[in-house]
Structure formats: C-alpha cells, structure tokens
C-alpha cells in the first residue's frame, strides 16, 4: 500500500509542484515546424536594435531563410522574430555565431553578452564576430546566397581557427570571461570580401577574416590586422599549425608546414622585481615545397631553412609585442599566463599588472626545427642527377 501511495505521489508530482496549471503536452513542438537559426546579427542605430537571424542551407540544399526585426531592446527584437513570422517558428537554441555591427559597439558589448547569458535559448558557446565598417545585417545579406549561407562560411573559419593565419575565434563566454578578468577582450573581425563564385550570376560575397578587434571596457579600442593576429595566436598558444614560406639563402623559396608550435613565457626577475619576459617559441617544421634544391640531406640547406623560419616567426611575434607596447595593453593575456605558471612569485605583479606591464621588457627566443623533409628521392636510393636517369 505504501508503494502504491508512493507511485501515486510520483505521478502527481507535476501537478503538486505547480506544474498543474500548465499543460505539459501543449508545450511540445514538432521539429518540422522549427526554423533553426544559426547566425544572429545585432545592429544598433539611433537607439533602435535591429536583429537579423538566418538559418543555414537546408539539408536538401534549400536557400537559407533570413528574418529581421527592430525594437527598442534586443529581447523584444528577438521576440519579434519568434512571433512575427507566419509558418516556421524561429528556433534560437542552435545559434552558432553572433555578429555585431561596428556601430553596435559604440553602445558597448556588455548589453549583448548579458542578454545572451540570460536567454534560455541562446548559448554562451556561440562564436562572436564583429562586422568591420558596416552593419551585421548588410554583411549577412551580402554573404548569403542561393547555395551558400554566412553561417557555413563562419563555421569553416571557426574550424580553421587553429591554423596560423586565421587566428582563434572567441566565443561569447571567452569574451565575457576576459572582460570580467582584465576589462579587455579580443573579438574576431570579419567583413565581406571578394565574390564567392566567378563567372556566374550568383553575386554572393565571401567572408573575409580581418584580424582581431580589441575591446576595452566593453567598447571598441583598436583593430589588429591579420599580421598581428598570427603573432597573437602564437603567444596565446592557440595556434597549433600553419604554413610558412621563407627565402632560404641561396636556395630560393621554401614552403614549410608548421606541424606543431609551442610557446612558453619565462619571467626574469631583477632584485626580486619582474623586469623582463622571454617569449620562447619552438616550431616543428616539415618541408612542403622547395623550388630550387631537392637535396634535403644537405646540412647547410637545412640550417638555412631553419634560420629563415625562425626569423619569420620572430618578426611575427615581435609585431604583436610592438603593437602591445604601443597600446600599452596586454591583449594577449600574458599576465594571466605568467601568473598561472608562477602564482606565488607573481602575486604582487598580478594585482598591479597594468602598471607592471607598462615597464616590462620583452625578449624573444625562437627555435625552428626541421623534422621531416619528405626526401623521396634519397629514400628511394636515387643516385642520378635531378632530371637524369638512374
């Protein structure tokens, strides 16, 4: 009998827990009634928020659907999309990218991030982008065509974020955490690029990565171009691979594939005070292409390639350090990295990092090591001349 009563109580739980006034079944929705929004664009203009939402290309290749709504607040604008269109219900649980128009940053990014954090559908794991020099809506319209959607292109950029040139795409969560920690954050910057297809009627434009934007106290501070982005990726430890073409002295251009890249920050103390930070970078390289010399076992050639690669990487890193010094901002988060490594030694410095950073000296130690040459000719015991017979 006790068990029976327990069963009854369990079954009645929804009613007893005040869910009784809600018919749970009526809350369901069939999946085919949903339009899964993948990208949301947010623009501010004269105190009005304009939200643009787009789906990806359908599984059957159908064109992406784009919805738009304006309101006084972000929540109202999104609600307008959810309720203002007939047919499919715009579904915001799978938003993968949020694009903010440049003008929107004048109002500050905090409001947007706060909304994303509160909304039950939107996710903080969505990638955050800044549309440089225009509105998010314009960029989304320009880059969404019959067979391509902006979300697909941004997804591709995000996947390649570990590749040297692209740089890491930061999520809303990353930006929120960085702003909370240091009052500063990086946002991936994009703009509409060249037409995606040539020789056809489709005038869809590609999405072009434009480096990072530094956000300070929630507002746009400075743009960093793609050259600096590469170095920032190396210092922050996000970049794991990439492609590099160097001029090896007397051997012409050699294209190298960076198979692994490790970065370490080494603090140097003088009289107990942090004075210098050494940025140590070790890159493992493979030869991808060499136009002039195919004799990879030549020690001199290898040394020259390694040296040229080290110089190239050093220049990239130096560019970031120079920019950082110029702005007086530690946008690569070196302070946090050093503190995590030496929490006791750097406790005082971490608390006054902005002041310490202004007077900090930087040194670089770059080591490039050629791991694989893919020397097919020698491995096959090829003994003839380069183009001869053997």
């Amino acid at each position: 009998m006790k068990r029976f009563i327990l069963y009854i109580l369990i079954v009645c739980m929804p009613v007893l827990s005040a869910c009784g006034d809600v018919n749970i079944y009526s809350a369901h929705s069939e999946p085919e009634e949903l339009a899964v929004i993948k990208t949301v664009g947010i623009d501010y203009s004269d105190g009005v928020v304009e939200v643009t939402a787009t789906t990806g290309i359908g599984a059957d290749g159908k064109k992406a659907k784009t919805y738009s709504s304006t309101a006084d607040t972000l929540a109202e604008a999104i609600n307008g999309i959810q309720n203002g269109y007939l047919g499919d219900e715009a579904y915001f649980s799978h938003v993968q990218q949020i694009i903010i128009g440049e003008a929107a940053l004048q109002n500050g990014i905090t409001e947007v991030l706060d909304y994303v954090g509160r909304n039950v559908y939107m996710q903080l794991s969505s990638d955050l982008y800044l549309a440089k020099g225009g509105t998010a809506k314009k960029l989304m319209e320009d880059t969404t065509g019959e067979s391509t959607a902006v979300s697909d292109m941004l997804e591709a950029i995000s996947k390649k974020s570990e590749f040297m040139a692209a740089g890491k795409v930061f999520t809303c969560k990353d930006v929120m955490a960085s702003l909370a920690k240091s009052g500063m954050a990086l946002i991936y910057v994009i703009e509409a690029g060249e037409p995606l297809y040539t020789g056809g009627d489709d005038e869809t434009l590609s999405v072009k990565p434009m480096g990072y934007a530094i956000i300070k106290d929630g507002k746009l501070e400075e743009y960093l171009d793609t050259g600096v982005t590469e170095g920032a990726g190396i210092i922050m430890g996000h970049t794991k691979s990439g492609m590099l073409t160097v001029e090896a002295e007397g051997h012409g251009a050699v294209t190298l594939k960076i198979s692994n890249i490790k970065t370490d920050l080494e603090p140097i103390f003088e009289s107990g005070k942090l004075t210098t930070v050494t940025v140590k970078v070790t890159a493992e390289l493979n030869i991808e292409e060499s136009a002039e010399d195919l004799n990879y076992l030549n020690e001199s050639f290898r040394e020259k390639v390694e040296r040229a690669a080290a110089v190239e990487i050093e220049e990239t890193v130096q560019a970031v350090l120079l920019k950082s010094a110029e702005l007086g901002e530690d946008f690569c988060g070196m302070g946090d990295k050093l503190y995590l490594k030496h929490p006791y030694k750097l406790a005082d410095e971490h608390d006054n990092w902005e002041k310490v950073y202004e007077n900090l000296q930087f040194k670089t130690e770059i080591r490039a090591k050629l791991e694989r040459t893919y020397d097919m000719e020698n491995s096959l015991n090829y003994t003839g001349e380069k183009n001869g017979e053997g």
Partner: protein, 484 residues
C-alpha cells in the same frame, strides 16, 4: 467422477478409467491355461510399451512351471515380488489411488481381485522426442544437447554431466488434476539448503490444479508474479543447468516441460549466455557489457527520441536537428503517433514471424521490413530517422538472451514512450525511476533481484564480467552460505 479410494480390483480400475479408449485390461491365468489364479493386466496404451508388457510380464506370468502349482493369490504375489516376473521394479499396491497413479506414470498393473491388491511394474514407453540441438540457446563451442519433455531423460542428462553422489534429485508431485512430477535438483554441500526448502515449500503450498505450461509454474512460485520480469532463470541446456547448480543455485525440472528452472534468478544472470564460458574471458566480458548497453538502447532509445524531438530539440546537434526536420517535412503524422505506430508495427511483424512456419515467417519479415518499411519511407508516411530508431531499438532487444526478459523490456519500452509523449524527458526520467524502483525492490528467493547493482554492497560487481576460470570458483559463496 469415479471413486479412487475404493478397493483394488479390475472392475474398480476399469471404472476409474471409464470411457478411456487407451485403457488396456486383459485377463490372464497365471501359469497358462491350466493355472488356477486369474489376474488382470491393466495399463494405459501409449504410456507403456505393449511389447515390453508382453515380453516381461505376460510371458513369465504364464509359464506353467512357475505358477501352475500356486493356489493362493497371496502366494502368487509373493512369488512375483521375489522375481517371478522379469521387470526391474515390482511394487505391491493395496490402494486403488496408488495403482491409478502408477498407471498414469507409465506402470503396468497386475490386478488380483480376490486379494484386493495389485503389483505394478515400470514399463514406460520409449516413445519420446530425440535429444535435439538447442534452438534458443545456441552455442558454437559447447555441447549440443537439450532438455526434452521426459523428466527421466532430463535427470539422466544432468547426472551424466555431474557424476557426483551429492547431486540430489528430490521428486515431488504437484497439480491436483495433472499430477505432474517435478524434481528439485541441488548439490549437497554447494547449495544453501534454505533455497531448497523454500522451493519445496512454495511448490507444496501452491494451489496447483494442473501444470501443463511454464506460466502455471512461474506464477505460482515467483516472488512477484505480477512483475513482467522473469524471476527464475530458465534454460534448455543441461550444461548451463549444471553450471548453475555448481554455483549454488537450486534447480527445478518439470515433467512435460523441456527446460529447467534455476533459483535464485537475479537480473545479471539473464544477461549471461552459455557461450560466455566457451569464449575467451575478455571477449565474453566485452559481449556481456554490449548486452547491457543493448538493453539500455532497447528500453530508452525510442522514448528519448520522442522526448528530445518533441520537447528538447536544443539537445540535438544542429546538423542532426536539421536532418530530422528535413526528413519529417512531408510526414503527415505527429512524432508521437509515428513512433507508437512504428513500435506497434514492429511488434506485429515479430508476432507474425513467430506464429508462422519458419519459411513463411522469413517471407513476412522481408515483406514487412524491407518492402512495407521502404515503401512507407518513400511515400513519406514515416520518416527514415524513426525507422532507424525503432530498428536499432528492436535489434538491441534481440540481444537480450532471455526471451521473457526481452518481452518485459519491450513492454516497458512502450510505457516509457507514453511517458515521453506526456512529459518529455521529465516523463522518461520519472518512468525510468519508477522502473528502477520496482526492480530494485524485487527479490528472488530472498536474494536482491538487482544484485550485484543493488543489495550486495558492491562486493559482487565483478560478477558482471567473466574472469579467467582458473582464477575464479564455480561456486558462488554468497549462495552457498547458510543464512542466519
């Protein structure tokens, strides 16, 4: 109904079996034509061998030299009991009920009217099904014999595998109408006698009328007869039966049922197959874990699909959600109806396949699964994702080795789908919690049903896997240990 408590006579035997065309009653004179004593040979044709009756009873009984000089029935009976007739058993019966029971158990009765007694001889008919290959519990490496409907043959098979005098086979007759013989099997010194006594008590206390089906036994002696989950291990294989006896379980063999029962039956036992002991222990352990994964898939996959698709679409990866949306675009039915319909169709197909002869059953499966299924998807009546979900769940349910357990899982799958339709994941969790509560509160002969998951303090969790036989004992010390 005739009175079975009357005096023993050929007339009373005939009265008892009136209108039974298979009763054979032949009057003979002991010592041949010149003999002075009349007796009636009574037997049930079919249950006993007529040839054996003629050779071993009638022929020696009519030898002139042996019985001609006997004048009194009591002397004749004494002579028969001393070996005057060549059968290996000769039992004196003075009560009609005993005579009738013997006859129904394959004995022939030589009835002496004046003495009011009969001598019964065991002359069972050898007509029986041959020992076939296993149909339900097939193995690649292992013996190929199975239990049959004749209990004596089954006990013989057990004895052959366990040539140990401590193997006890305790006979008990139950069923007011059917008078079915059962044998409680156990190994003295291995089995906790409490289980043996409990088995005997349950069989004696049960109000059996007849035992002609498995359910009539199960429902009388299960701890929780209302539960759909099997509570005693059932096997058609003598080797598995013996292995479990060696582990300390008590067995039950029933005349007329080609299977043996083993108690206590715990949840984990139903996920072991005889092949486990024939395979390498790592392979066997991996397969066992796979079967546990399969029961979770069989039980929960359709319910989770319904819950996620109807209420929690945010849980699906974007590409999968888009794929489901596209596949459901032209389907006219709501997801709930679609899944329920497919589950019912799946059960119909299975039932049709079981009831029909093998060859036709296969044809039905092909028509049902391939032709109707494919046509339904092409006609956009159902979505391919639902077909995949139901098929995956169905296949997973087939990996459950015990058919009763599989059936219980399938019924609960329906209930969980209904819970999912009503309240999404909340309903599934609620339903699953109720199910777990139910099975965890069950016991089989005093042992927790969910052992080793519950009730054993985790000490027997290694029983889930198979460890090298050289490092483990056959016997389960927990089962053997005398309870305080």
């Amino acid at each position: 109904m005739s009175d079975r408590n009357g005096p023993v006579s050929s007339k009373s035997v005939k009265n008892t079996f009136q209108n039974c065309y298979d009763l054979s009653a032949r009057e003979i004179q002991l010592g041949g034509a010149d003999g002075k004593i009349k007796a009636t040979v009574c037997y049930i044709d079919g249950l006993v061998s007529g040839v054996t009756v003629a050779e071993t009873i009638i022929r020696p009984a009519t030898v002139k030299e042996r019985f001609a000089a006997v004048e009194l029935e009591s002397d004749a009976i004494e002579l028969i009991l001393k070996g005057g007739i060549y059968t290996y058993t000769a039992i004196l019966r003075t009560e009609l009920e005993q005579v009738v029971d013997d006859m129904l158990n394959g004995f022939c009765a030589l009835v002496f009217d004046a003495a009011g007694a009969a001598v019964t001889f065991e002359v069972r008919s050898p007509d029986k099904r041959s020992i076939d290959e296993p149909k339900e519990e097939k193995v690649v490496k292992g013996s190929k014999d199975v239990f049959i409907e004749i209990m004596r043959t089954n006990t013989m098979q057990v004895r052959r595998k366990l040539r140990n005098p401590n193997l006890r086979l305790k006979q008990i007759t139950v069923g007011a109408t059917s008078k079915t013989s059962m044998v409680i099997a156990y190994i003295d010194g291995y089995t906790n006698m409490e289980y043996v006594e409990e088995m005997e008590r349950r069989l004696k206390d049960a109000d059996f009328d007849s035992v002609v089906s498995a359910a009539s036994v199960e429902e009388h002696i299960y701890d929780k007869p209302r539960s759909m989950f099997p509570q005693m291990l059932r096997t058609e294989r003598p080797d598995r039966f013996c292995m479990n006896l060696l582990e300390g379980r008590v067995g039950l063999l029933i005349d007329g049922l080609p299977m043996g029962y083993l108690a206590p039956g715990t949840f984990s036992q139903f996920y072991k197959v005889p092949d486990d002991n024939a395979k390498h222990y790592i392979v066997a352990s991996a397969m066992t874990l796979l079967r546990y994964a399969a029961v979770i898939i069989a039980l929960l996959l359709p319910a989770l699909y319904v819950a996620v698709v109807m209420y929690h679409q945010e849980m699906l990866p974007p590409k999968l959600l888009v794929s489901i949306i596209e596949s459901r675009k032209s389907v006219p039915f709501p997801s709930a109806l679609e899944v329920l319909g497919m589950l019912i169709a799946f059960e119909l197909l299975q039932e049709a396949g079981l009831r029909l002869p093998n060859t036709i059953g296969q044809t039905v499966s092909i028509i049902g699964a391939l032709i109707v299924g494919q046509s339904a998807v092409e006609a956009k009546v159902i979505s391919p994702v639902v077909v995949i979900v139901i098929a995956l769940s169905g296949i997973a349910s087939y990996t459950v080795p015990d058919q009763d357990m599989s059936a219980a899982v399938r019924v609960h799958r329906f209930l969980l789908v209904l819970a999912a339709i009503a309240a999404g994941l909340y309903g599934v969790v609620l339903g699953f919690a109720a199910l777990i509560y139910n099975v965890c509160s069950m016991e089989s002969f005093g042992v927790s049903y969910m052992e080793p998951f519950a009730g054993s303090k985790g000490s027997k969790i290694r029983e889930l896997l198979r460890f090298p036989i050289t490092k483990t004992q056959h016997m389960d010390p927990e089962l053997r240990k005398e309870k305080k």
